[in-house]
């Protein structure tokens, strides 16, 4: 299981998912209609490091965060 947290304004509770790659995570999250608009804009980090490839593998206990566009200051 990996833990998926939705940060900032997404306002969705964390999920525990059985997925082995970012590609599988993509397929799983796209089943949720309420997330589709967010996913177009969001970046993804695994264990707090941003990933940019769907081929990245996930292992038991990994923490994935979904990051909407940022605006500090």
């Amino acid at each position: 299981m990996v833990i998926v947290e939705f940060l900032g304004p997404i306002g969705k509770r964390p999920l525990k998912l059985k997925v082995n790659t970012i590609k599988e995570l993509k397929e799983e999250l796209n089943k949720d209609e309420s997330l589709k608009e967010w996913l177009k804009e969001c970046a993804v980090a695994v264990n707090d490091k941003i990933v940019t490839s769907l081929d990245v593998t996930l292992k038991e206990g990994d923490k994935v965060v979904i990051l909407p566009p940022v605006c500090g200051g």
């Binding site: 900032g8 804009e41 969001c42 707090d48 940022v70 200051g73």
Partner: protein, 142 residues
């Protein structure tokens, strides 16, 4: 480490503390930047969510510069118009490199620091999507 405050940052005490801490470490310039919440579009203030694990990670590349020291503070939760939500200071030997670092640092901060801003209007918290920037790899799950 980034200093975080619930609500507006106590500007002068924080700057004073930073000045006292670094004034005898050979720097000839301390360049502060004080971000102030503007009364745009009738807002009562701004509100912020921070993701500290990645915020501190982002800041780590600015922590060990050979020729400068950068310190920063940011608010979480609600900050009223006229208060400060972002405060930083750059210490360098001379002012020229300090101004350069300040500009680079704030640009990087705006583009990459995992912070989310909301307008507070009529008691509601509205995500400031018009001012937000996508992070690298955004849209990968779409």
């Amino acid at each position: 480490m980034i200093e975080v405050f619930k609500g507006g940052i106590p500007v002068i005490p924080t700057l004073d503390r930073w000045y006292e801490e670094f004034k005898l470490q050979g720097y000839g310039a301390m360049i502060p930047f004080i971000g102030i919440v503007r009364p745009d579009n009738g807002i009562d203030g701004l509100s912020f969510d921070l993701y500290l694990p990645m915020l501190n990670k982002w800041f780590s590349k600015w922590k060990n510069l050979k020729d400068a020291r950068i310190v920063m503070a940011h608010s979480f939760s609600d900050v009223k118009v006229g208060e400060s939500s972002f405060l930083c200071a750059v210490f360098t030997t001379h002012r020229q490199e300090g101004f350069k670092y300040l500009e680079e640092f704030v640009e990087d901060f705006k583009a990459n620091a995992p912070i989310w801003k909301y307008d507070i209007k009529n008691g509601k918290r509205i995500f400031a999507s018009d001012r937000a920037k996508k992070l690298p790899g955004a849209g990968i799950l779409s």
